[in-house]
Each structure stands twice: as C-alpha cells, then as structure tokens.
Symmetry: C2
Subunit: 457 residues, 2 copies
Amino acid sequence: MTEPRVATIKPENYWTANGWQHSPCLRIDQGRLLPQSRPDPNSETLNGYVLPGLCNAHSHAFQRAIAGRTEHRTAARDSFWSWRETMYQFAGRIGPDELRAIAAQLYVEMLEAGYTWVAEFHYLHHQPDGQPYADPAAMALALIEAAAETGIGMTLLPVLYQTGGFDARPLNERQRRFWFSVEGLLALCQRLRGLESDRLIVGSALHSLRAVAPAVLSEFLAAESAPQRPLHIHIAEQCAEVDECLALRGQTPVAWLLDHAAVDQHWHLVHATHLSDAEALGIVQSGANVVLCPTTEANLGDGVFPLQKYLDAGGSFAIGSDSHISVSPVEELRWLEYGQRLTKRQRNVAASALQPSVGTRLFDAAWRGGWRAAGVADADDAPGSQALAADLIVLDHQHPQFAASDLAQVLDTWLFAGNQNLVRDVMSGGRWCVREGRHQQRDVIAARYRRVMRGLR
Amino acid sequence: MTEPRVATIKPENYWTANGWQHSPCLRIDQGRLLPQSRPDPNSETLNGYVLPGLCNAHSHAFQRAIAGRTEHRTAARDSFWSWRETMYQFAGRIGPDELRAIAAQLYVEMLEAGYTWVAEFHYLHHQPDGQPYADPAAMALALIEAAAETGIGMTLLPVLYQTGGFDARPLNERQRRFWFSVEGLLALCQRLRGLESDRLIVGSALHSLRAVAPAVLSEFLAAESAPQRPLHIHIAEQCAEVDECLALRGQTPVAWLLDHAAVDQHWHLVHATHLSDAEALGIVQSGANVVLCPTTEANLGDGVFPLQKYLDAGGSFAIGSDSHISVSPVEELRWLEYGQRLTKRQRNVAASALQPSVGTRLFDAAWRGGWRAAGVADADDAPGSQALAADLIVLDHQHPQFAASDLAQVLDTWLFAGNQNLVRDVMSGGRWCVREGRHQQRDVIAARYRRVMRGLR
C-alpha cells in the first residue's frame, strides 16, 4: 500500500462503545486512533456513518478457491466429512505462490466487506508429501505477504496438528503436510514473531482436541513462550467429534478442555456449536471468547450455536468467515440472528433490555470479541478509554437503504436490510484501502488470481 | 422504458431446462423468446452465462420501506405478531404516490438482482380510514405504473381480506383499509384485466383462511370468472395460526383447505411452513405450487419448511422476497438450503440422484415454479418446448468468483459463493433494463424514493 497514512480525521457520525459521537477530531498515530483535543483545520472530514473496522477472526485462506465447488452430491448423505475430502484434494495442489494469490484475492474481498483484520488459522505448513519447503516458513510468509500487499492487518496462528482422531491415529496421506512437532511449531512462531509490527501479530493454535494428544497439549502449553498472545482451537463443531470425545475421554470436548487446561481470556474457542448449558457457562466463567462462523457452520451442516443463553450469561464472541463461501460481516451477523429466530420461532433474539437494537448488540459484540481474538485488545480493555486501531468502515449514508433510518437504526439497517454492499470506504492501519467500494488494487489482484486458478483447474 | 426491444440474440452459454446450450440463435417476438433457425448476422452476441429471468412470486411492495426498521425489541418476546403492529403503523401512512415511489425503488432492486417478474399480493386497497379512494383502483394502479416504469413484468393479485381471525372477528382499525366485498374485489379484478398485456397478468388472492370465512371462500370461488389465472393464499406460516385453525375448525390449515376447496394447479400456497407429511403429499397430489420466502420466514421467526420431503414427493415451489428485508434470489435459495442443512446436520440436502448440483436443482425448481406462480407458464408446460418470456439474466463470467468453475458449477457458484452481485445484465420483456449491474433509471428512482421517505419519517 503506497498511499500515505492520514494525519487527522473528523467523522461526521462516529460509532464508539458509548454510542454515536458527532464530529470528534481524531489523530492517527502508528496505526492507532487517538483523540485530538485541539481541532486541526487540515483534518479530513468523513461524511456518512463511520464504524470501527471488524476482525475476521477465523480464516483458512486457501479454502476461498473452492467456494461454490462443493455444492454437489458426492455421497448418499453428504456431510462435513465428505466435504473435507474434496477440500483436501484441492489443498494438495496449493504451494506458496498459489496461496499468496488466493489469499490476496480473499483479503481484497474482506476489506471491501468491512473486515480490516484477519486471524489466519494456518495449518498448510509443508509440501504435499509432508517434506518441509526449502524455507519451512514459506507458506506462512505467503500469507503475511498477501496481507501486507492488500493492507489488511493479520494475526497469524500457526497450527499444531498431529493426530487424526481422539484415538491418536496418525494423520493420513492427505493430512501429512499439516504435521509439526511442538518444538518445530514453536520455532516457526518464534521466527515469525521477529516480523511482528502494528499490523502483524503471531499467536498460535491447536487444530482441535482430536488433533493433539493430552500429553502433547500439556507439553505445548508449558513450552509456548508467549502465553499472552491469542491461542485458538476448533471445538465441538460436529456431532461426530463430540461423540468420539465422549466415547474415548468420557467427556464432551468443551467440558474436557475446561478440566484439562488453564483456559483463560487468551483462549478463543472456534465454533463451540454443541454446548450444554454448563459448558456455555464454563466458557463464560473461564474468560475465554468464542469464534462463530455462521455461514460456514450452515454450509457444512454443523448446527446452531446457543446464542441467547451464552449472551445472557455474559459471553463474548467474534465472527469468522472460515471456509469463505461467504465473505461478509453482514451475512455472518444476519444469519447468526436468523438461525436463532428459525429455531426458536421468535424475533429479535439477540436484543436485550439494555440494548434493544439487534444490529447494535451484534455489531458491538463482534467488534469487541474480534479484536480480542486478534490479540489487539484484551478482555479487560474498556473500549473507548484506550487507543484503538486506526481501522474504520464508512457506510454510504446516501444509499436509499438509509433513507428512512435514524441514527439508532443505522446498524440494524446495515445488517438486516438488503443485499447491496453499503461499505463505501475502508481505512486499515491509517491508510485508505477501499474507496467508493473498490479496493485500490482490486483489478491487479483479481487478474493474478484468475491466472493462478486457471493453472490449478 | 424507452430502449427498443432487441430483435435476435446469440447467448454464448444459455441455460435451459435441458442444460447448457452453446450459442443458440433466439428471436424475440412480443416479449417471448423463440428459436431462430436461420442465423441472423445482426444478432447481438451475449457473452457470459445467460439464464432465464426469475419470478419473485410473493411481494408486499410497501413493506420495502420498513426494511431494517423493525430489528429492535418492542416486547419481552418479539414475534411475527409484534412485527405486524409496527408494519400496520407504517402502512397507515402510505397513499398511491408513496406506494408508487416505494414500489419503483423495490422493482429496480429486484431487476438488478435477477428478478424480471413480480407477483404482487396486494391488500392495501383503500384510504387508511377504510373509505375507497376517488378511484377505487388508485393503489393497484400505482403498482402497475411502478412496474411499467421499471420494466419488470407483473402479476397483480388483488387480495380478499375480510376477517381478523378464524372466529370471523371483524378487522381492527388498522386493517379496515384491506376490506372488500367479494363483489367489490372481483369488480376491481375485472377492471384491471382490461389493462392486461404480455407484461401484466391480473390474478387474485385470498389473504389467508383466517381472513376469509368458509362461506365467503365458496362464494368467491364460484364467482371468480377467471379460474385459469393464478390464485394465491397465505397458509400455515405461524404456529399460532395453525393452532387457532385446529381449535376452531378441527383441522390444520392445509388439511382444511385441501378438504374444502378444489385446490388444483392454479393454486399457490404461500409459506406452507408447518406441514405434516400427509399435508405435504396432499399439496403435491393436488397439483398446487408452494411459494417459499426463506429470508422473510427467517426474519419473522416462522420456522423451516420441510423441503427434502416435499421435493422428493415431486413438489413444485417458487420463491418470493415477501417483506423485502432481502431482495435477492441468491439469498433466498442459499438460505432455503442452509436452513435444511442447519436443522438436518447434513450437506447438499436439495441435491438428488438425478441432479447432484444443489444450485442447479434449486434454480431449476424456482424458475419453473416462479413462472407458474406468475400465471405465465402452466404446470403442464414442458419448459424448452414452448415460447418463454424474453426475460434473461446475464452473469458476469469474468468475475473472479467464476475463475475456477466449469459450466456444471456455474449455478452452484452463483448461489453459494460470495456476496457480490454477479448479475451483470438483465433483459425484461425483450428490453435491457440493467447493464453492468445498474438499472438504467436507478438514480432518478432512488432520488424520488429518498424524497418520499423523508416525507414519511
């Protein structure tokens, strides 16, 4: 990104944790947003509705390339597991150059949709035959380069993935490129942390309980030298996984994890679809965050997360586009709520007595939980009282969709009305990446993506 | 619409009931599409993926104006019924000028999304106090004018709405503008039929079983002089409605209807959400069609239609955007399937052994069922063997979303991948209404809509 960072801005309507502010003056400093007490005559006025950028808290970038290619029957009863076979077949053809091109296309789409940060759950570590690349960080670096090229912030989460089930069976042929020793993975993390900046954080991840044996989990947690960084884990996404855990460990995955690891605010539990009331409460009490991926969870037939109980207990959540069949915070949050309405047969489920607007409550939660999942903000941070990332979304206030909305309805309207992208401009790390709905490098990056995809067919 | 009707076209990839055709030559005649055996050197070549236009089979145009304005809590447990109160409050402020402006904005959005025909379920007949307008057809004419202005085809369905419940209680103050005698409604239909053309059909509708007493239903069916035109009815949308019918008539609504009316292929049952297996089979055996509105049914917390059983029994369906919180065939069909996946916990539910592509099966069904609901095609029509409406959607084949798709995956990709509108051009009735994603009168119509909405706030 070549455009210089902006100095001071004056958003006409600026949404903060305390509601809408009218025309505050803000200074951008090192990718952070600070209040500017003295008005600056040169500040850029931002018309429209200005929101903080969102973090897309769960991404497997390479899967973007199979969006739309797995919606046909391959078995008498298709499921997550038959989908995974197709996904593995495709993954076997992706090297660093392909990954960079696919990720850049994806990140352009994310920025245009209002995501200014992405948490990459990265397990495509080695060559398809399991041998490390000449540079063992080649695939991780491809993701980091794609983020830098597009301007999106990144939390990279190198993933520990060692076994194929709760019985500790070895990875199969298609999974062997995922394997790292604990030592090897932590060495990779250590090296990548040398590249950290205000736009790059390197956390880590456990693929799932079925991919990491109990002793290895302990080894990893004892050895991870940066426990203050975010730690992500897939959990309780599929019933088959819950059942296998129950059969072999005598507990469901979330209950087992809460009993066997010091889960705290640095933990981010991805999906957590199938929860008992006690497990939901256990997550809240641990201080952990969950990462919900409603469009992927629908596409893969996972099931419906118990949102109302979890929110009413004080739970925190982020959203992620995961397999990227959809790339839109609007579709994630709209259908997170609609999934509740369909199954509970009532309306405005995520609203509360304190926050009657569903759009406001969902956006507020996803925004806070997202920055926690990225490791940019902490659970204890009081948003508004501290410097925020200079990541902004500007909604097009002149769009007919807003013709009838007052300020209190802007977030409801954005999330629940219509199908056009209302995101007009996006600032990421103090730089304008998207203007008038178009990423500045959209065409160049799309052309390269098309070329790479033709090669992969 | 001033642009002249096109003469002959040559779509590069043309989707028909028999699959993809390569570069057929087609002649456009009186709004119909006919095969042209002799190649025409002046024919317009259409690059991209060319699909037949879709009918939006259930619309209450005025509700477009409250999209995004009812997503906040108004009761301890919000529902369809609390939503309806808000909707009525708003409807009370709409006259013919407002309706024309709102409908035109909506129809522009429909055309840009790929709908080329709309079935208007029209019950906002009179002035708010229940008095007829000076011209009793004023509201119906406003809808017809909005359709003509935007180029969308229309099936207008004037609605009989007389009572407020199965106990035949009178309409309340907010509903009284809906009331018509059977005679009055049929006179309106008769007059409007004088305006019919290749782009306007006038059918009729019963609001619901709770709005029409049994004797009135019989009277209406005996008196309707055009029984070959489509007849629509809301049915079994909400559990409360099903329960009240069961309590007062001893049967659930669909079972009652099938027993008390000669339901046939001209009937279109809107929603039909709550069905027993026997009712689903009964609908199929009657030859009737159902009209599903997945985004509205989610927004209102209605529930999930038993799609797989219904399709496997040979059922026919159309889609509608109903309350217009969404206006997109992509979102309707995507979430029709995803609702199934979430509740059944499997993938590719709408696929069949004969048609493994979910996108193809859903598009094909919604296309056929849509034209039936519009009254343009009949259940007995074999699509492809007869002249079709000259209504076409052209998908942008150069979009990165299609970079990896072969022809067999085009419909899966359109319906299940991403969030950008892939509809590039739309022909309606032989005229190009949308080019490069923009309706030709988008700006003029949006400006008028904004002005009218400011007046209504």
